[in-house]
């Protein structure tokens, strides 16, 4: 038995290690995704001041602090029974769309970018953002410059570029000044310009490549799951308000509900051999690590959001969305590598929406705090770049935190990520696997833009995912096939129950 180790998994947010066990024939016998981080937010948030939660919980993740900041304040709005005044709502909306654009940009160019922009045989030393910036110097300069401008918008509204401070229950800290808004408008225009450049580069330099098209069609990367995302009244993706919509693998709507009601439709499954819990839809329920309509496994994130939507909220994004839909032909789109393209479509909407919002003079309104009722219980939901994010708080009568539950984007995706890694590993890994093939396994994982800092916020924190290929009698089977595997399901591993 030989073990190949990818340590650490790079170009993702957080810690990760993939262990691939090969048998004597060099065939994949097991694949483990292990995340060795643990910080314990849900424990140490107890006893904290409610109004500090947006600033405390955002330290779960320094890439998407804005997501936690907003999900947290939405939970507080609900817990205090507050109605947020329009000026505050606009501030939050502009802030958040700008963040989504910036975060997607980070992944498209810095994290996943090297997988997309560079040839697959690029040696490890050059397979990174520096390699991308060298290969595409002009685009690189525009990206760095516009990202700085987007971060400036976040800083001006949020108070700080990373770990903002402006959200308070019922509203935001302070009104925005007219001269600040003027500056912001210049920045959002630049964001739209870059979004257009990226779409052009994507079609000319990435989608045109046979290699990328092959990835988009790779059978081992097709995963027909349910999908979850927030939608607005017109059923377009909404990043920070709206209803939670879930569709089945065939596109049929399963439900469309507000945050608290949606949370009620989700349960968490645990296995004795892993520390992570696996969220799943109570209807149809947990049937194991499998895709398909009978399985409650669902995915979140850019691809999921496009799959639950009927169209986009802004014109250029809608145009790109139509090209996306046409290319695949079918809906929903189940190809995991399509996450990258979906991310691009969303980045365009986020830029356009931010630019549109910036033109609303209501942003300088003085009424930024809604009236608060007595502290109680509330659920807030937003779409982080990586997927749906729930914050659920219970407050005591002094408005201190008495209970907290967080379900973060990457956690929703743990079953999906595991399946993707498993399928990819089975298809490409063999004895003497070289750099390219090992990177392919990582790529499957990285397509989700996983935020392991988010996924490891909670006490278990660790996500070893164990995959074994077994025969009908339960014995370990040697599998040599490189063809599309049948839907692999993982039987429960025979270990002792962890006492509860």
């Amino acid at each position: 038995m030989k073990t190949l180790t990818i340590d650490p998994i790079t170009r993702l947010e957080g810690h990760g290690k993939i262990l691939l066990h090969l048998d004597d024939q060099g065939v994949l016998a097991g694949a483990v995704l292990q995340v060795p981080e643990l910080r314990g937010f849900e424990a140490f948030c107890l006893g904290r001041r409610a109004e500090e939660m947006p600033q405390i919980t955002e330290r779960i993740c320094g890439v998407c602090p804005e997501a936690h900041h907003l999900a947290s304040v939405r939970a507080l709005d609900a817990a205090f029974g507050a109605v947020v005044p329009e000026a505050a709502r606009l501030q939050r909306a502009l802030f958040y769309n700008t963040h989504i654009f910036s975060d997607h940009l980070l992944h498209l160019v810095f994290l996943g970018g090297p997988d997309l922009f560079l040839p697959e045989d690029t040696p490890r030393a050059g397979r990174n953002v520096l390699g991308v910036l060298q290969a595409f110097p002009e685009l690189g300069r525009e990206v760095v410059g516009v990202r700085a401008r987007a971060q400036k918008v976040i800083e001006m509204i949020g108070g700080r570029a990373i770990h903002p401070v402006f959200a308070l229950p019922g509203g935001v800290a302070r009104p925005l000044a007219a001269d600040e808004l003027e500056v912001i408008r210049g920045h959002t225009q630049a964001m739209v310009g870059l979004a257009e450049s990226l779409v052009a580069v994507f079609h000319e330099r990435i989608l045109s490549q046979a290699r990328f098209q092959a990835l988009l069609c790779a059978p081992e990367a097709i995963l027909p799951t349910h999908y979850m995302g927030l939608v607005d009244a017109a059923c377009a993706p909404s990043f920070h308000e709206g209803d939670v919509r879930v569709v089945a693998p065939d596109g049929r709507e399963v439900f469309r509900l507000d945050a608290a009601a949606a949370l009620d439709r989700i349960a968490e499954h645990s296995e004795p051999w892993t520390y992570a819990k696996f969220p799943y839809l109570k209807e149809p329920g947990w049937t194991g690590f499998a895709a398909g309509p009978q399985s409650g496994v669902y995915r979140v994130g850019p691809l999921a959001r496009l799959n639950v939507a009927d169209g986009m909220a802004t014109p250029r994004a809608q145009a790109e969305f139509e090209r996306f839909r046409d290319w695949f032909g079918a809906r929903p789109v189940h190809a995991t590598f399509a996450y990258h393209w979906a991310r691009l479509v969303e980045a365009v909407q986020a830029a356009e929406a931010a630019d549109e919002l910036a033109r609303d003079d209501g942003l300088t309104g003085a009424d930024v705090r809604g009236k608060l009722g007595a502290p109680g219980e509330g659920v807030g939901v937003v779409e982080a770049a990586r997927g749906t994010l729930f914050h659920h708080y219970r407050l005591d009568e002094q408005a201190l935190v008495a209970g907290v539950n967080l379900i973060v984007a990457t956690t929703h995706n743990t079953a999906g990520i595991g399946l993707s890694v498993q399928h990819m590993a089975a298809a490409v890994v063999h004895e003497g696997a070289d750099e390219v093939l090992l990177n392919r396994v990582e790529m499957a994982f990285r397509a989700y833009d996983p935020c392991l800092a988010c996924a490891t916020h909670f006490l278990p924190g660790q996500m070893p995912l164990e995959v074994e290929v077994r025969g009908p009698d339960g014995a370990l089977v040697r599998r040599a096939s490189r063809a599309a595997p049948p839907a692999l399901s993982v039987p429960a591993h025979p270990v002792k129950e962890v006492p509860s």
Partner: protein, 183 residues
């Protein structure tokens, strides 16, 4: 004065020179008996005592800290003792939330002539601290197996501040277990 034995509490006493310190001196010259556990530190005013000093004493291994100041209205610097009172009030809250018994820190008013009062207060305080057991950063006596003063307070404090819930012996055992890092 003999070194206090291993079971005796070690006390650090911050005494203001104008009132409490003089009262303590008077008790001494009057041959009044009180337990010798306290290490006295003279300060100009109880208001000079920084919370950080109290904590430093505990971290250095003290089991209790006694602060003696002037009666309200008598402070040589007018209002120093009022500040001290408020500071110790807040400090006790912080200690309680960290799982350290707030009764380990005392703030008492003693005038320069109140030798008997000082004697009684110190006797009572030593007994009180002895009953609480070793302090959060207590060291073992000299000659015992060397251990570093790195054991923190029993970290079983919860948000609802269950101060002093576990008995001293249990807490000491917990701390020892923590140091052994059982994995």
């Amino acid at each position: 004065m003999d070194e206090p034995g291993p079971s005796d509490p070690r006390i650090v006493a911050f005494l203001c020179r104008w009132c409490a310190g003089s009262g303590a001196d008077l008790a001494g010259t009057s041959r009044m008996q009180y337990p010798p556990n306290a290490i006295p530190i003279r300060v100009n005013c109880s208001g000079r005592v920084e919370p950080e000093w109290v904590v430093e004493a505990l971290k250095a291994g003290a089991d209790g800290v006694f602060i003696g100041g002037c009666h309200p209205g008598d402070c040589h610097y007018v209002s120093g003792n009022y500040k001290a009172r408020r500071r110790i009030h807040l400090l006790r809250r912080v200690l309680a939330e960290l799982g350290i018994e707030p009764q380990r820190v005392a703030l008492e008013w003693v005038s320069a002539t109140e030798a008997a009062r000082f004697t009684r207060l110190m006797t009572d305080f030593v007994a009180q601290v002895r009953a609480l057991g070793p302090g959060p950063y207590a060291r073992p006596p000299a000659g015992a197996e060397p251990e570093l003063a790195t054991a923190g307070p029993s970290a079983t404090a919860t948000a609802t501040a269950s101060s002093g819930a576990a008995r001293p012996a249990e807490r000491a055992a917990e701390r020892a277990a923590d140091r052994r890092a059982p994995w």
